[in-house]
């Protein structure tokens, strides 16, 4: 197991290295000179030259890459737009996205698993049709439109919740204050909606597959209570694919966060990404994309490791 994890970590480093080269070369192709963007209007030629020197823009391209990465890791890479170290800009916004993503995943999980189980054990009933139709609608709805509709209904028509923003925070989290709690409801529901639907469908199909197995018949014929059969025998065996999906959610949440945060003006990494792209803030784009990719691949790894713990039949070597 240990050797497997080490090998996977090696692969992750390799993938991130390629991603970083890919992003760096993409940014090189972008029109516009970073030095001019960084300096702003009305800078003298000498000052521009000094900035180029500082960023290493006058060096050959592979050396530029090395300087860029070096600066990123020792924390001196500065954002072109904010003139602050990239690390601190990202760190400032990270809690907002972490909180939003975490609660969206929790919400998606606690709704989707019961819904999927109910729909599987009562297959072909009205309850099942309702759940499957709603779930199919859920995966057909763009997150930003869900956010817009919730804003329209809850904030504008009913005036029950604030339209956008994050509200008051305590220790960097908004769930600890009432104001913050009111602000997080809409983005949280919107962000979790698609994953909720996908996970419901997955739980259902996974449960249906297990419920057809012989050991379920055996369990029932032993006279076990239906609850025990469903939760103790069926669900435990159906949980693996569901768990994978929850792990994968970490990645998809980031992508969804870009749209949800932009729509609801949630001050997190997704919004930072969009504003950085609009400002051609290459340093932030580079660092952020690497961070997101890192989160993505690490969540895959964690899922694989958890797999081995959940199912003793699975071994990695």
């Amino acid at each position: 197991m240990t050797s497997y994890i080490i090998r996977r970590l090696g692969q992750i480093v390799l993938v991130l290295f390629i991603v970083s080269i890919l992003i760096f070369s993409l940014l090189q192709l972008a029109p516009g000179d970073p030095a001019t963007v960084l300096a702003g209007p009305g800078t003298s030629v000498e000052e521009l030259q000094a900035i180029r020197e500082d960023l290493g823009l006058n060096k050959p391209i592979h050396m530029q890459y090395v300087t860029f990465v070096k600066k990123l890791f020792n924390g001196t890479l500065k954002s072109y737009a904010y003139k602050q170290p990239v690390i601190s800009i990202i760190a400032e916004r990270f809690p907002a996205t972490l909180e939003l993503g975490l609660f969206a995943i929790i919400l998606a999980t606690i709704v989707s698993i019961p819904a999927g189980i109910i729909s599987a054990i009562w297959q072909d009933t009205t309850a099942d049709y309702t759940v499957t139709t709603v779930a199919l609608l859920g995966i057909s709805t763009p997150v930003f439109w869900t956010a817009l509709m919730l804003m329209l209904l809850l904030s504008i028509q009913l005036d029950a919740l604030p339209v956008s923003g994050r509200g008051a925070t305590l220790w960097g989290f908004s769930i600890f204050t009432l104001d913050g709690l009111r602000h997080i409801v809409i983005p949280m529901i919107a962000l979790s909606s698609v994953q909720m639907a996908m996970n419901t469908r997955l739980t259902r199909s996974s449960m249906l597959e297990v419920l057809r197995e012989d050991y379920i018949t055996t369990a029932r014929s032993k006279g076990l209570k239906e609850n025990v059969v469903i939760l103790g025998h069926a669900f435990r065996n159906a949980v693996l694919p569901v768990m994978t999906n929850i792990g994968m959610m970490v990645g998809t949440m980031v992508a969804g966060a870009v749209l949800t945060e932009t729509t609801t003006a949630w001050p997190g990494l997704g919004r930072l990404m969009i504003s950085s792209i609009n400002r051609r803030d290459f340093a932030v784009i580079f660092a952020l994309t690497l961070l997101i990719s890192f989160g993505y691949v690490v969540s895959y790894l964690i899922v694989d490791i958890l797999y081995a713990y959940a199912d003793p039949r699975i071994t990695y070597d």
């Binding site: 199919l136 609608l137 439109w145 817009l148 028509q157 992508a255 729509t263 784009i285 994309t289």
Partner: protein, 384 residues
Amino acid sequence: MTKEKKIQKKRKKLPRSTFILALLFPGLGHFKEGRFKAGFLLSSFTVLQIVIMVVGFSNGRMTWFGGSIDGTIATWASVLFFLGIWALSFIMIRRSYLKRESGGYWTRAARGFMRHKKGLVGAFIVLLVIWAALFAPLVAPFKPLKMDLLHTVTAPGGGGHPLGTDNFGRDILSRIIYGSRVALGVGGGATLLNMVLGGLLGLLGGYYKGIIDSTVMRFLEVLNSIPYIIFALLVLSVFGAGVMQIIIVLGIYGLQAARIIRSEVLSVREEDYIMACEATGAGDFRKLFNHIFPNSMASLLVVTTMRIGINIIVVAGLSFLGFGVKPPTPSWGAMLQSAQSYMTVAWWMAVFPGLAIVLTVFGFNLLGDSLRDVLDPKMSASGR
């Protein structure tokens, strides 16, 4: 008496009345045979088209020759559409008598599909959207860019605008109808690219394996570690937003289809019938395209249908963020973006374009789900 003759005797003869009804009006033959769902699909589209043509000719938007290009194209497209529906209904009726008990994989799949209520609803929605996109100039009550300056930000129904107008006084319904062209064109174009490139790479990669295969798979792994929308945003911000750019970006990202096809090919090529085929002296090309490809076609079709939905949503998302099709070209995402600034005063600007997205994607997803049920019994056993 030969075996062939025996089968011939078992076949029922096509009743003359059904034959005439089917020739008379698409769908009538199906109604007589008790196939109401198919009959409804066929006849409703015929009726829709007749209504559109009557309206189009009476207000002069449709012309046989000359006139506006849009009008001429629409006329001849309608004629083709008619012929298509008519031929389809006729062929369906004939086939149902010719091959009642037999039929290959696809015939059986098609028959299974016609019994699938969900799939038919999905097919109806998808056809409706495609139809609206094709005949947009005739279906839309107004020109999508025409500004009705007396009725800016008008609620549904006001000034003859069924779904209201936007901040420039442009008709929302017409813009939604024209927006379907962008959604289907860009989303569909990207998906086509996914299917052709991904299918080819998966097919060749799974069959030959080797260095190219592993390179492509590693490349896909790297792509897979960057979220879809972020990859698209980055590339579009560098190369500029535009229809072609979006199609190419989504087309490349969606190469993930190659993985599914590849794994399918990997299992198919180990089957006995491929070995048998090899024993008859078939070459690589024949094995690949006559045997392996048709056998992995089903999963390619399912993957593609589901992918269109995803691509339509991503295209809308990109337009919503301002990286999509440039305004004033009507697109659903961009309509929602401008709606956001008018949320407090004009709910209709935000509601209807979104409903159009949901309906379209829902249709494709229903279709994809049902295709999976029908084409892949292995997968459908694990739940519909």
